[in-house]
Amino acid sequence: MARYLARRLLLMAATMAALSIVCFAIIQLPPGDFLSARLAEMAGTGDTVDVANVAWLRAQYGLDEPFIVQYWLWISGVVGGDLGFSFELRMPVAEVIGERLGISLTVEILAIIVLWAIAVPVGVYSAVRQYSIGDMAATLFGFIGLAIPNFLLALLLMYLSYIAFGVTIGGLFSPEYVDARWSAGRLLDFLGHVWAPVLVIATGGAAQIIRILRANLLDELSRPYVDTARAKGMAEWRLILRYPVRVAMNPLVSTVGWLLPTIISSSIVTGIVLNLPTLSPILLRSLLAQDMHLAGGLILLIGVLTLLGTLLSDILLAWLDPRIRLG
């Protein structure tokens, strides 16, 4: 195990190195740089811009250097623990990420927990009671959740809660709690807001889990070892959860490690519509503004999470199914 981990971590470092180059290059693929994006935005507000000192600024930010030099400056900092500086927010990238990481992970992990807590039992149910009313309903709702774009759902939720309850649910806190310390009141207020993004993210992913689990479980339910467990006198549900579900979870577990990074990078639009103080909107902003260090830092973060997630999945997979060897 230790050796396996060591080897994987080593490979991970190599992947990260490659990733850092590619992502740095991708960020630079769109035309222009941070300054031109910034100028475009200023012009959008009606400002006219004198271009005289733009070149000077460009030099100041190191944007006139060749790609390799810029990359080197950045990556050597990153390796040394300095993620660089956000051009746009004028803050160390580490600080930006630090500020949002906590709340972002809270919301996203909460969403994942809710997602699994709902979808896995429902998936098992719809396999065991194939074509029952419950199965049909789960399929229907699952696919409605999947077929309605997340941002539209977010918008609908916002609008409905305004119409029905006269409350606005954008953001994660009411004004009085935004800058307050954590307290019971703030927690309640948080829960009063966080359900919306959690619901949106969870409904978007539920169909996936339900249908995949159902499909795989249906295959396992007729295996002879299920009969053996039955003959032992195990309760039907218990034996299903203990035996076939464990096999059927394989595909979900194969990719479970990617959930978190995927949600971070795909809930951008939801994050924007619901005005969430998470990392996702910042990622989009930094990309649009070509705020290289910030974007790079976030992509690296997502990359690290993906790599760790893959490792986690691999370990879980081996734990789940002894026939699979860590290798």
Binding site: F143, L155, S254, W258, P261, S313
Partner: protein, 378 residues
């Protein structure tokens, strides 16, 4: 030896009477799956309406009409009263009474009970080209009475007919994105299958590649790619290119899942047995291991299709997806995703309903296929 030669049956291997070929078995079981059959019919209808879109769409999907911006849907009345007061079957719709509210900058619509516009099946219409090359002069449903549009699903912000746009949008939505799905399924199955089957170095390399591809978040990738594609390609081509490129990343998930399952499956005796029959690696993967996994693959495919159709809405959020004047369900939804539409013109959300129907149909069809392929299913 024990083989008898000669007297070849015309098609396929000969079998004792009363037994069926494996495919006949599957089809026989599928046929008894009512839900799947209904879904199949619905899908067929959807594709037919994609093919004959121009004929089915009552109006011109691009024709804006200043008088009917955000007009609500008309409802069809089937029975009408004759002069003598008796009920007759004569479908008609009411016209609108339009008032402009300059203060609120909107038009308000009321049904005008005095204006009745009968509907005609296969009535005359403006000339148009069916599928872009068959000149036609008739449409499925037309309205009598000049100047009144037929807006069965209401109108959008430019007064365009939502129904016609929905029907025309079927064409792109049910075709272009599917290429991506098919591509990513194919790559995912082959790569994941071989990686899981062989294990070892191949697996290590493939897994690192997958890991790497997954580590790059999609949004920057899209933005980078969009910037890299030539700007003067037509929008549909760009979109097509992007879906293809996306599917080159999209296979990773399936590949990983397949691989995870295959690592376990390959130790099964029947796989070994097939290998000892002399089956090649590809045949092992596809004929023996993959079918054990077909439920998953069917489910994954029926999930990937809506995801791909929807991807375009997120893409166009970044200015990368399909763009008007091309019409697709995603574009229509994209246009409806603002508070104004949600609050005052909910009929603009019909494309979501169409999508749900299509997705459910694909899914139940998939269910039927799954059950038909499952030897245990009864």
């Amino acid at each position: 030896m024990l083989t008898r030669s000669g007297d070849a049956a015309p098609r396929g291997p000969r079998r004792p009477t009363g037994t069926e070929s494996p495919w006949a078995l599957v089809w026989g079981r599928f046929r008894h799956h009512r839900l799947a059959l209904v879904s199949g019919v619905i899908l067929a209808l959807l594709y037919l309406s994609a093919i004959f879109a121009e004929f089915l769409a009552p109006g011109d999907p691009q024709a804006y009409n200043a008088r009917y911006t955000f007009a609500p849907p008309q409802s069809i009345h089937l029975l009408d009263r004759d002069e003598d007061g008796s009920l007759v079957f004569r479908p008609y719709v009411h016209g609108y009474a339009v008032t402009v509210d300059p203060e609120a900058m909107r038009r308000t619509f009321a049904i005008d009970p005095d204006k009745k516009h009968p509907l005609r099946l296969l009535g005359r219409s403006e000339p148009y080209l069916l599928m872009g090359f068959i000149p036609m002069q008739r449409k499925l449903l037309t309205i009598e009475g000049q100047g009144t549009p037929l807006l069965l699903l209401g109108a959008d912000r430019l007064g365009r007919d939502v129904l016609s746009r929905l029907i025309i949008g079927t064409r792109v939505s049910l075709s272009v994105g599917l290429v991506g799905v098919v591509l990513s399924l194919a790559i995912g199955l082959v790569v994941g299958g071989l990686s899981g089957y062989h294990g070892g170095l191949l697996d290590l390399v493939v897994q690192r590649v997958i890991e790497f591809l997954r580590s790059v978040p999609t949004i920057p990738l899209w933005m980078g790619l969009a910037a890299a594609l030539p700007r003067d390609w037509p929008p549909l081509t760009i979109y097509f290119a992007i879906t293809v490129i996306l599917s080159l990343v999209g296979w990773t998930e399936l590949a990983r899942v397949v691989r995870g399952r295959f690592l376990a499956l390959k130790t099964e005796d029947y796989v070994t047995a097939a290998r000892l029959d002399g089956a090649s690696d590809l045949s092992l993967v596809f004929r023996h291991m993959m079918p054990a996994f077909s439920s998953h693959i069917i489910a994954a495919a029926s999930l990937a299709i809506p995801a791909m159709i929807l991807a375009e809405t997120s893409l166009s959020f970044l200015g990368l997806g399909l763009q008007a004047p091309i019409i697709s369900w995603g574009v229509l939804l994209q246009e409806a995703q603002n508070l104004r539409s949600v609050a005052t013109a909910p009929w603009l959300l019909w494309p979501a309903a169409a999508m749900i129907v299509a997705v459910l149909a694909m899914n139940f069809l998939g269910d039927g296929l799954r059950d038909a392929a499952d030897p245990y299913a009864t």
